[in-house]
Amino acid sequence: MPDATTPDSGPGAIPVLDMVSPMLGFPEHRRFALARLDEEGTVCDLRSLEDTDLRFVVVPPSLFFDDYTPEVADTVAESLRAESGDDLVALVVVTLGEASGDATANLLAPVLVNPRHRLAAQVVLDDADLPVRAPLLPAGAAAR
């Protein structure tokens, strides 16, 4: 497994993403590097290039939430220069709990990425029923 604390190996090695709308609460951080933390790409690291101490753990929601298909307004897609939803990759921000099994994911405000244009945005979806803290794993998963 790559060492998450190692600085990026060089320009071009890691996709650099420009945030067209920033992580909520972190408006000054506009450029992030996205890196896999495991070989499968299950866990990714979204690290600020403005301040490399700031990072978020993000995961592809499809691995954890079967029915989750974020729908975004045309204006959001346009801001990410996406011609259709297929151009965008969704990632959800993980909050780590006391134990690994307590991790939650923010389904209301995913990070949408347009890999082709290296653009990203944390987008607040219109579906107010989506949870901000959805358990990433079923209860008791850590014990097994």
Partner: protein, 85 residues
């Protein structure tokens, strides 16, 4: 802060194309309508505060916590997928 008194049915216009209308006043609940172009995000303030707070809680977890999650997920994936890649 600009403070305006408005009656039900009255509106306030912000910029060129955002119109806020007082629809109903009932006790301490005021219903307002917001007419804005789709490019203007209209959110409840407490929702943005909750999302900001959640991002702060999520930001910069300890490397040990990240490793713990990665290990847990890898074990889970192996269990789910079996021997296939």
């Amino acid at each position: 802060m600009l403070v305006l008194s408005r009656r039900v049915g009255d509106s306030v216009v912000i910029g060129d194309d955002v119109v806020i209308t007082v629809l109903e006043v009932r006790g301490d609940v005021i219903r307002i309508g917001v007419d804005a172009p789709r490019s203007v995000a209209v959110r409840r303030q407490e929702l943005l505060a909750e999302l900001t707070e959640n991002n702060r809680a999520a930001a910069s977890p300890s490397p040990a916590a990240v490793d713990g999650l990665a290990d847990l997920l890898q074990r889970r994936q192996r269990r789910d997928d079996g021997p296939t890649a």
